[in-house]
Symmetry: C2
Subunit: 421 residues, 2 copies
């Protein structure tokens, strides 16, 4: 009799009809003889409603730390309601079930209210309850901080709650039910050749999450990797008596036949800034990126190239579309100090990345990418790489086409791809 953790997000518990569907998935695992904990998010829309109330109450904003403690106390109530409702529904189906709030477990976090990190989960009471056949319905996204107050883990934190709980109770598996039926080789809206992946490694999933793929939160993948928790992504919109196999996120050693490239991942939320003719002296680049960091603007791909004028360089970087105006305004105000000549910005760019553990051992992955794009006349503006990822920045209008040709070039379209996983 294995311990299993299941997690259902906001759209999966949007109303009582959906909560009853969730109950059907849960009873299936319980009837199979498992000891089950279920982590739930707030009902879709509820967190936004509560955040909106906090914003209204918090105007004009006071010191952020004092705010966040109350913000947490308010917003955590959403998960509290869902966990109680699912417990009631399970009880009505004849099962023993109870809700667990973060402080009741306790799931201890640090004091970073609003974006707390999990410090420790006491699995004694909840593990014992599970093994006694009582379904543990856990309010996700929340814990208790050292100050004795409720803390929250930040948006999407319920994934992290679920994986951390799975690690704490040594669960055989953490099943994340969501509104897609697994992880795909690329966004299925871009090509009909996209395929669900049966197994993918933590490392690849982490790269995907970092690139903004919405399936799982980065921190939950990091935690799964650290504690070797097998995580399965499944759809809560499948029939509960015959859910699809989903995608298993696991250790690379558990994936017998590893693809060279597993996914082609587009990211349209990109914008680029080019600073022209910066004096080519030590400290100039540092002053630019210090200023941006202090303003809390995340930057990504950076390229420095020689300017036409001797003694000057051009510097390009990318950032999120939402940050581009702030970045441009900031740099203009710093122009006298930095001493550049001109500034260009462009929102019409996209980042396309290929991710694959196989890159570690296979040469030529980058060459295939550059050759394929060149053959199709797609110009690369910028490149960045990690051990298992190559990203290129291209014109946004060409991004969908680039995804399709790369998907084909790496053999992800091929019918034998499905068989090999």
């Amino acid at each position: 009799m294995a311990r299993i953790v299941m997690k259902f997000g906001g759209t999966s518990v949007a109303n009582l009809e959906r909560i009853r569907a969730v109950a059907a998935f849960v009873r299936r695992e319980v009837d199979a003889g498992h000891s089950v904990a279920v982590v739930v998010s707030a009902m879709a829309g509820e967190t936004n409603r509560l955040v909106e109330l906090c914003k209204e109450a918090g105007e004009p904003a006071p010191a952020l730390d004092a705010r966040n403690v109350e913000y947490d106390a308010i917003v955590a109530s959403g998960e509290q309601v869902t966990s109680g409702l699912l417990a009631l529904v399970m009880q009505n189906l004849g099962y023993r079930a109870r809700s667990w709030h973060g402080w009741q477990i306790p799931l201890k976090t640090d004091n970073a209210h609003g974006k707390a990190r999990i410090a420790e989960i006491d699995e004694t009471a909840i593990g014992e309850a599970m093994d006694n056949g009582e379904i543990a319905i856990v309010a996700g996204f929340q814990g208790i901080a050292p100050d004795g107050r409720i803390s929250t883990l930040g948006r999407g934190g319920s994934d992290t709650s679920a994986v951390a709980l799975a690690a704490a109770v040594s669960a055989a598996r953490c099943d994340i039910y969501t509104d897609v039926d697994g992880v795909y080789t690329t966004d299925p809206r871009l090509t009909k050749h996209a395929r669900r992946i049966s197994k993918i490694s933590y490392e690849e999933m982490l790269e995907m999450a970092s690139l903004g793929a919405k399936v799982l939160q980065t921190r939950s993948v990091e935690m799964a990797m650290a504690f070797k928790v097998p995580v399965r992504v499944l759809s809560s919109f499948d029939p509960p008596d015959a859910p699809g196999p989903g995608t298993l996120i696991c250790d690379e050693d558990d994936i017998v036949e590893q693809n060279i490239v597993s996914t082609v991942t587009p990211d349209f939320d990109e914008a680029t800034v080019t600073i022209l003719a910066v004096p080519d002296e030590p400290g100039r680049a540092a002053s630019i990126f210090n200023a941006l960091a202090e303003a809390n603007i995340n930057i990504d791909m950076i390229v420095q190239s020689a300017s036409r004028e001797t003694g000057f360089a051009n510097i390009s970087f990318t950032t999120k579309e939402g940050d581009i105006e702030r970045a441009v305004d900031l740099l203009k105000s710093e122009q006298p100090k930095i001493g550049f000549k001109a500034l260009q910005s462009d929102k019409n760019v996209a980042k396309v990345s290929v991710i694959g553990l196989g890159m570690k051992s296979h040469a030529g992955v980058a060459a295939t990418m550059f050759r394929t794009l060149a053959e199709k006349g797609i110009n690369i503006q910028n490149i960045s790489t990690s051990e298992i990822k190559i990203s290129v920045l291209i014109n946004a209008d060409a991004a969908e086409y680039a995804v399709r040709v790369l998907h084909e070039a790496y053999g992800l379209d091929a019918p034998n791809h499905a068989a090999q996983n």
Copy 2:
């Protein structure tokens, strides 16, 4: 620097505009140098929304005790949200404030989920915070049960939370802000001569609460009386910089000049059942009232009178209008066992009560009541009395008129009445 507890109900915190008005009342007390705790209810409508969700989730109903634990966990979230929002608003006004959930104080209750009774309040941490100038914003209506789960005190429980907290922190006063500006000599909608009472005793207030006057919950008055907490009823719709004096509910010793009759209180939620020709034998009445008690039907005024037939009696009692159909159906089904001849019921009745501590020492209060009603041709169907209350059951159509003539007969209309309190 006195400790003060303030309490605001659902309509007083219905939205952020109202919560900001509440904040103005709170800052007034803090600026006056008091150590303040504020007990809040859920925003108007929120508790009903949560109860509705519980009902939907709880169909068909399982064992009540298991249900109530989750019901409490769900419904208590309403007060959690309000307390956090008021804390945010106070912080924005430049005050130090924090929310306290029941389990954080802790406010300990018994295990009777859904209608728990307060067992103990640890005032150490919250009292210290108050004295350090931090406004304690307490989620009303909730506590923590011996099982470690959230409990609720039943509808209107926030009044009880406030009075109990005031007792625990030895507050100089518990101010209950509501949507009326005090306790009146009678319902102001019935006569323009109704007057706000400056001071009223716990005993009188308890009789009024038991009669269904909506100002305060019975249990909160009982607790105030037991712990000698001075309770003031005020309006949260008054201007915060100049609130009315309200009504002080206090020990009778603190009321210098006691009225013989303080209030005339009507109760329209009454119905009467008359059982005709019950065999006049020991045990017959008991079997009737046992059956009603087992069905959880509360009965009030009981009269047994001789029937025209020798060896038989007629038995009348009153109950709430909402229970009358159940009572009649139940008695009909028990007719063979009880052995009565016929059954009559009437919803068109009302109870009018006069309440006054002075009755203890003054004769003739009942005589005045009966004479006044007789002079106006109002027929009395039933009478019940306590040490400080006389109630009569009359035709509902005559009730408003009866209230007006009694209000005048006991001198409550008189202009010198206001001065004497």
